[in-house]
């Protein structure tokens, strides 16, 4: 019963994280802090940041990986599963409603016009986050070459994106080996 209560608390905490984080990414950190560090006092902010960083080294959805790592820390495998389900539940519910409505109103002229502008804004937002990501990941000539090659290969559909990503990992290891021999 005690275990069940703890798992329920975890689920609710991560449900709130999923509900209140709009746009993903760093926006979830203050909410995790509010819920798990200040609220339930289950872990320290240091542990949260560590889990968040690690979550980015795993494939898939960062927010759900972060929830899994924190959940595991607090309740082993059950904790990880419960936390991940908590963080995705609000999305699924909200998007289901939107999808049901949107597929009906999509063809209306007013909706189409609004989305012309919205697409432009999304483009501007992508430029904005891209410039930040670029500074973090492209830090020398070699990483610039990797990024450019990946861009060209995927843009012109020369190679499947998944193969390009795998090759990028190997390219990183190759660079490391070069550095050692220098």
């Amino acid at each position: 019963m005690k275990v069940f209560k703890k798992l329920l608390k975890l689920y609710i905490a991560f449900f709130k994280v999923g509900l209140l984080t709009i746009g993903g990414g760093y926006a979830m950190l203050p909410i995790i802090e509010q819920e798990l560090v200040k609220g339930l006092e289950l872990l320290t902010m240091d542990e949260v940041v560590e889990s968040y960083t690690l979550s980015q080294t795993l494939p898939g959805v960062i927010a759900s990986n972060a929830a899994a790592l924190i959940g595991y820390r607090l309740g082993k495998v059950k904790g990880a599963v419960v936390s991940v389900l908590g963080v995705i539940t609000p999305s699924i519910i909200i998007i289901l409603f939107i999808a049901m409505i949107f597929t009906r109103i999509e063809h209306l002229e007013i909706v189409q016009n609004a989305f012309k502008g919205i697409r432009v804004v999304v483009l501007a937002l992508l430029f904005d986050s891209f410039s930040r990501l670029f500074k973090v990941a492209v830090f020398d000539r070699k990483t610039f070459v990797i990024a450019s090659v990946a861009f060209i290969l995927v843009l012109f559909s020369i190679i499947n994106p998944i193969l390009v990503i795998v090759a990028g990992g190997f390219a990183g290891v190759a660079i490391y080996r070069e550095r050692v021999s220098e």
Partner: protein
């Protein structure tokens, strides 16, 4: 349905860097399988960024719903996170030993740079559908199809975002409203 789930497991296993990094892969499968058109996909990015929760989950739920209704939506999201969940559990166990290993660090440097290239391709795709009246068929036609209103809006939106750095929802609502009147 099996095709849908298989595609989302693949995406969950092979994308690093979260929502933005998934966009080119999602686009690939959504267009190739005729689940969505280019402009529907651009709309989906906008919806996913302005609603709560992880962007990738939002997109998976939406695509799953349009293809296989409610069950498709739930299962697409679940299989998307499954590989990460399993690996997160495995990683938690292995971590202390290997995270600082130089080969692992080097592989991640390569992965992150590759992902930047991939994100750039998704920017190009969104630019094509949002800045042109029709998709230009060859290079010479680019100027005649370019939508000047969209270009001016892009410049002003980018400038305002840089200056204010507010939540994406504000910009999406604001410019969505403006464009009802100018198009």
């Amino acid at each position: 349905m099996i095709k849908l789930l298989f595609e989302f497991i693949k995406i969950g296993t092979f994308t690093y860097g979260g929502g933005l990094a998934m966009i080119p892969l999602l686009r690939d499968i959504a267009i190739d399988n005729l689940w969505l058109t280019d402009s529907q996909f651009a709309n989906l990015i906008a919806i996913s960024q302005s609603t709560p929760g992880p962007i990738a989950i939002n997109m998976a739920t939406f695509i799953g719903f349009t293809e296989q209704s409610v069950i498709g939506a739930i299962l697409a999201s679940l299989v998307l996170i499954l590989p990460g969940l399993i690996l997160a559990i495995a990683l938690s166990k292995l971590l202390a030993k290997y995270r600082k290993h130089p080969v692992v660090t080097a592989a991640f440097a390569g992965l992150k740079a590759t992902v930047i290239g991939l994100i750039a391709t998704s920017i190009v795709q969104v630019a094509i559908v949002s800045l042109f009246k029709e998709v230009p068929k060859d290079f010479g036609e680019i100027w005649s199809y370019l939508d000047l209103k969209a270009l001016i809006m892009l410049a002003s939106a980018y400038f305002i975002i840089q200056k204010t750095q507010k939540h994406p929802l504000y910009y999406i609502l604001g410019f969505g409203l403006i464009s009802i009147f100018i198009w």
